[in-house]
């Protein structure tokens, strides 16, 4: 992974190319983290992938997390990898919670990295982050008609009735 100086150089170049894209850098326990503005995610990842001497061609993982009670609440993490130099770069986009009926939104990177397809669907399923321009944004692990986003920190654990034939009439919306 890039050292602290290398990370600052990347951040400097990115700020010149895409103004306002990088909001911070962290170098913690050997992990180089680039904190970016979610609106610029596509430009930042395209730059990191296409620029000579950067060449982060492989997207190892995309995952979400919920920083409640901190703000901004949601984080979408991209683990980029350069296989030639064996360097990993951790890119983190932080999203504000827009309030109950609305969902946080950001651009999908599935067009740039096809591997993000399933993983963005999982983040949508679990955290309710909507990825604009995703080819097929549906729930992936939970049932299609499920309500709520179970990996959010304020989503309760347990307490959901299991549907059997004997209790399906008492369960809400059984007739739908």
């Amino acid at each position: 992974m890039p050292d602290a100086t290398g990370l600052e150089l990347i951040a400097h170049d990115l700020r010149e190319q895409v103004p306002g894209s990088v909001t911070g850098t962290q170098h913690h326990r050997g992990t180089a983290t680039l904190v970016i503005d979610p609106e610029a995610v596509m430009q930042v990842l395209t730059w990191l992938r296409r620029t000579p001497n950067q060449d982060y061609h492989f997207l190892a993982s995309v995952h979400g997390c919920d920083y409640l009670p901190h703000a901004p609440r949601f984080g979408v993490h991209y683990e980029l990898l350069n296989m030639e130099r064996v360097e990993r770069l951790h890119v983190k986009a932080l999203l504000e919670d827009p309030g109950e009926p609305e969902l946080p939104e950001m651009d999908s990177v599935a067009a740039l990295f096809p591997t993000a397809n399933f993983q963005e669907r999982e983040i949508y399923d679990m955290f309710g982050v909507v990825f604009r321009g995703h080819p097929d944004l549906r729930r992936i692990l939970m049932p299609d008609e499920y309500e709520g986003f179970p990996q959010r920190r304020d989503f309760p654990m347990g307490g959901e009735p299991v549907l059997f034939t004997h209790n399906e009439h008492q369960t809400p919306r059984w007739y739908e």
Partner: protein, 413 residues
């Protein structure tokens, strides 16, 4: 291959509703459910397959049938109680799950692992890799109609489970790898047994090859089937034996050696064509390399503690509890509350039998993780299935699925 998945859905679900091409062709299309309950899906995978006669036009995976919310449950457990939960994700690679999680927590704690513990981890992980590949070989050959190899593979697999039982007390989901080391040192006589097994195993691999390598049916069903270009595999995030069969020698054990892997001499088998036959050859060669690593690790096993001596992280030895007040306090605090981890995020990838298995842990400074996410290689590799099967016969789809080696417990978590 670059057509967006939106049109894919239309094709699969709208076959009768909105015929896209001429009516004559559309009328012959058939959309069927493959799975979720089908022995050849290696779990509970459902594929919505569109067929024209025997040709696969579209295959869309539907997953989530064994989703149990393990990642959510992990947030309600202290760190050391998370280990048995994550072991149940990819249920054929339980040592690897525990290893990825423990290494992430160790990185957050900045806790070094004693060298003996690193070697013991390597020994068990490589035995687990052989075990996982044996189950894969047995069930895959079964899918192709060869039943005897299944019994042979499970015979050897049972010997590995015996070794696991001998060292940890459990046959599966052993909870052997702990934060800071391993649960216990190997018992007397274990090393000799394991050495004898590796010698035995290398001979057995030759016997498997004798059964399959010159089998006309096996060759016809696997050769030149399911070739996807290497660059496309990389774009789809595929790692592990699938990528190595396509000729890319990417192996995290060599690229970023963790847990003393740089001390061992082993090769990375790669394929040349990238078809199902290469995937089979690469995995068999990996069994041989794993045997060699196990032998080197046992022969060079260093002396020393099997777990860190930091009492804030690891339980004190049992005999100290009777004499030391300090040890009793540490024991009590660890069992009731667990240890606290400084705030931070860590993503640690390791090489599992199926590719890059990464564990992301977010700590908020308390004794429970705020988020545990497993980047499961099966989940990501499954995206490549469509590219492998579209345009081929439905029988080749079974071969491709078998050689992809998906573990649905890991996919659905």
């Amino acid at each position: 291959m670059s057509e967006p998945a939106g049109s894919v859905r239309q094709l699969a679900t709208g076959v009768t509703a909105e015929p896209a091409g001429d009516a004559q062709t559309e009328a012959e299309l058939m959309t069927i459910n493959f799975g979720p309950h089908h022995p050849a899906t290696h779990g509970v995978l459902r594929l919505l397959v569109t067929l024209r006669a025997e040709e696969v036009l579209e295959a869309i995976p539907y997953i989530g049938y064994v989703h149990t919310g393990i990642e959510k449950s992990c947030e309600d457990k202290s760190y050391w109680k998370v280990i048995p939960l994550v072991e149940r994700m990819d249920y054929l690679a339980y040592y690897f799950n525990a290893m990825a999680f423990c290494m992430s927590v160790e990185r957050l704690l900045d806790e070094p692992v004693p060298e003996r513990a690193q070697y013991l981890r390597v020994i068990h992980c490589e035995l687990n890799r052989i075990h996982s590949h044996l189950v894969w070989l047995g069930t895959s050959a079964l899918d192709l109609g060869a039943i005897s190899i299944f019994w042979y593979c499970f015979r050897e697999r049972d010997k590995i489970l015996d070794l696991f039982e001998y060292s940890s007390g459990q046959r599966m989901h052993t909870r052997y790898i702990q934060v800071g080391g391993v649960a216990d040192d190997i018992p007397a006589g274990w090393a000799e047994k394991a050495l004898r097994f590796t010698e035995d195993m290398e001979e057995r691999v030759g016997q498997y090859e004798a059964i399959l390598d010159r089998n006309e049916i096996f060759l016809q069903r696997t050769r030149d089937v399911g070739i996807v270009p290497q660059q496309r595999l990389l774009d789809l995030g595929v790692t592990g034996p699938l990528l190595r069969a396509a000729g890319n020698p990417w192996d995290l054990r060599k690229a970023t050696p963790y847990s003393s892997y740089d001390k061992f001499d082993f090769k990375i088998p790669v394929g040349t064509v990238g078809d199902c036959y290469d995937r089979y050859r690469v995995r068999l060669a990996e069994i041989r390399e794993s045997c060699s690593i196990v032998r080197q690790a046992i022969e060079g096993l260093p002396e020393g503690p099997h777990i860190t001596t930091n009492r804030k992280v690891a339980l004190p030895p049992r005999h100290e509890l009777a004499t030391s007040m300090e040890a009793l306090i540490h024991h009590f605090k660890l069992v009731t509350e667990g240890f606290r981890v400084p705030p931070g995020e860590a993503y640690v990838p390791i090489e599992s039998p199926r590719g890059e298995m990464g564990c992301f842990v977010l700590s908020d400074g308390s004794a429970k993780p705020a988020r545990v996410h497993m980047r499961d290689p099966s989940f990501v590799n499954l995206q490549a299935l469509r590219e492998m099967v579209v345009g081929g016969y439905i029988a080749d789809m079974i071969t491709n699925l078998a050689m992809l080696d998906p573990i649905l417990g890991g996919i659905d978590r």
